[in-house]
């Protein structure tokens, strides 16, 4: 087993990883920017070092000071969390060079999945369903026009190096297509240094359903069921749940098998997530992308399976064989996660960094809080706005929702505005309660206007 791990991250995920390490008896080294001197992860780790100024680029994204601390504190491994360096193949390569274990898949797997058209092609060859579209990068306008005519409009143009909602454009006819290709290529060149774009059929109404996979270094791959992340605002997930209310047991099984195939295709190792577009009308699903890291929403999977995903990551990185096989996995009840952000839902989700005065997280049966906040904590304006992930578990979807409503009602955060009122309204919304919604939910229903909750 690994003995000492550097956590190359901040916030709740750094705290989450430190917790798992403590429970495994592994020493922890935290790093922090000047803006995070008082952060909780700094206080909880065995050692902590300031590695640079507030700017992520000069601190959490800066290889040199991180590797310096890793070397000087003699850690065996680096856990990148999510975001920052989590899917950075160069950083993973640097770790390998420095003989430090990067807790994540191989550089090969990161690269294969990190470039969208490569991933798409890899999946196609592995027999994982992909959205109809181009095979690889679009070579010419003529090729794009012919292809779009064949699969039918609307189509979507995606930069192969894109991500997080950037470098994407929809075209509804040939004219738009030509324009979009040019603009997206230029944008992608500028933003990602790679102008390559590809083309897919645009599926407008879909659920975002993803499968958690777990693989060791000896070829064993299992999946831990799905998560439904269809409640999104501008491609940012806000509420996640498992099981998905959108899919049935047949789809669940097929999707799970497809995800395992996807992971096997890149010799995946560790925890990863295969995201799918689920088209309810056709009852069909397509590979969207694979995230080669732990996800923000991993706790809901932990709640229903009882499996500690961070510990599993660490065990796999310690070259242990998976102790569980597919048949051992039991899905128990329902779990929901609400991301409580420092944003004002009454003012277009404007970020509200500042000092948290009163902070009292909810407790009791079936309630889990993953957070790095504390009374008096000052949320810095430089990073993401998440204050806490509130996760509930119940026997049924209804119980998980009722428990979430109860927990939200006793989550006392004063000093900054939060998205708690937003979540409270979603959880009262008939469409959400029905389970019959997709990624357009927040577009179609203006939650903050529709309902009135005091």
């Amino acid at each position: 087993m690994l003995k000492k791990i550097l956590i190359a991250n901040r916030g709740e995920i750094a705290v989450r990883i430190i917790r798992a390490c403590k429970e495994l008896g592994i020493k922890t080294v935290a790093i922090f920017s000047e803006a995070d001197r008082d952060a909780l992860h700094v206080q909880l780790a065995d050692e902590a070092y300031c590695i640079g100024p507030a700017s992520s680029k000069e601190s959490y994204l800066n290889f040199t000071p991180i590797m310096s601390v890793a070397n000087l504190t003699a850690v065996d491994a680096i856990h990148p969390g999510y975001g920052f360096l989590a899917e950075n193949a160069d950083f993973a390569e640097l770790c390998a060079k420095c003989k430090i274990t990067f807790i994540g898949p191989s550089v090969y797997a990161i690269q294969k999945m990190g470039t969208k058209d490569v991933a798409r092609e890899t999946m196609r060859q592995a027999g994982v369903p992909i959205v109809p579209g181009s095979e690889g990068i679009i070579e010419s306008e003529a090729q794009a026009i012919a292809l779009a005519a064949e699969i039918g409009y609307p189509v979507i143009i995606k930069a192969t190096a894109g991500g997080g909602g950037k470098g994407i454009r929809v075209a509804r006819d040939q004219e738009e297509l030509i324009k979009s290709i040019n603009v997206t290529q230029q944008e992608a060149e500028k933003a990602f240094g790679n102008p390559g774009v590809y083309l897919e059929k645009f599926i407008e109404d879909f659920s975002h359903v993803e499968i958690q996979v777990l693989a060791d270094n000896f070829g064993n791959v299992i999946h831990l069921g799905e998560r439904d992340c269809s409640v999104q605002r501008r491609l940012q997930k806000l509420i996640e749940e498992t099981p998905s209310p959108a899919i049935n047991s047949t789809i669940r099984k097929e999707m799970g098998n497809a995800a395992v195939k996807a992971a096997q295709a890149v010799n995946y190792s560790g925890a990863g997530t295969v995201e799918f577009i689920f088209d309810k009308k056709d009852q069909s699903f397509y590979f969207m992308e694979m995230n080669t890291r732990i996800q923000v929403e991993h706790p809901v999977t932990e709640m229903v399976t009882g499996i500690d995903l961070i510990k599993e990551q660490i065990k796999v990185a310690s070259h242990e064989t998976l102790a569980i096989n597919q048949d051992d996995i039991q899905f128990n009840g329902w779990s929901i996660e609400c991301r409580v952000n420092a944003e004002d839902p009454f003012k277009q989700f404007m970020p509200t960094p500042g000092q948290i005065e009163l902070y009292l997280p909810p407790g009791g049966l079936g309630v889990r809080v993953d957070s790095a906040a504390y009374p008096g904590y000052r949320i810095p304006p430089y990073y993401d706005s998440m204050i806490a992930k509130l996760i509930t578990h119940g026997k049924t979807r209804e119980e998980a929702i009722e428990r979430m409503k109860r927990a939200l009602s006793e989550f006392f955060i004063e000093g900054v505005s939060t998205t708690i009122p937003f979540h409270q309204r979603v959880l009262e919304h008939d469409v959400f309660l029905s389970g019959d919604f997709n990624t357009k939910f927040l577009e179609l229903h203006s939650i903050m206007k529709d309902a009135t909750i005091d």
Binding site: I51, P53, T64, V69, T73
Partner: protein
């Protein structure tokens, strides 16, 4: 937020003390307590002493506020521009770049911080005298950690 019970306590403390007025403001909260004293004519004799404002330093989240006057004998700190290992000399064989009492100029190299096998020479950046050395030879220093105390010229 201040609680009633706390205000009551403060009133008691104030009653028992010679303090006459308390004003406290924080964000949109304001508390003012003032004793009913000035209903008599007073002839101030003199208030010769200057008002001393104590320096308040919040040492740690978990410790009470300590009110103390720190008078460091230096007025500039050379801080580490990176994480790395701090070395006073370029090799074990040679002497240190600087010692306490040495005069330095802006461009004087005062130490080395090694990061990723790169030896970064750190310059003083001010003219002055080395008053104290704040890190130990061979120590892992953080970004921004004070290394030397300099009394500027």
């Amino acid at each position: 937020m201040i609680k009633i019970s706390e205000i009551k306590e403060l009133i008691k403390v104030l009653d028992a003390s010679s303090v006459d007025e308390l004003v406290y403001e924080f964000e949109n909260e304001k508390l003012k307590l003032k004793k009913n004293v000035p209903t008599f004519e007073s002839v101030p004799v003199q208030t010769a002493q200057p008002i001393v404002t104590p320096a308040i330093e919040l040492a740690d989240d978990k410790q009470p506020v300590t009110v103390e006057k720190v008078q460091p004998d230096y007025d500039y700190e050379i801080t580490s521009p990176m994480v790395g290992t701090f070395y006073l000399s370029s090799s074990p064989e040679t002497g240190p770049y600087v010692k306490i009492g040495d005069q330095v100029t802006k461009k004087s190299v005062v130490c080395i911080v090694e990061a990723m096998k790169l030896f970064n020479e750190i310059e003083a950046e001010v003219d002055g005298e080395v008053v104290t050395i704040l890190a130990e030879n061979g120590e892992l220093v953080e970004y921004g950690q004070p290394l030397f105390g300099i009394k500027q010229k």
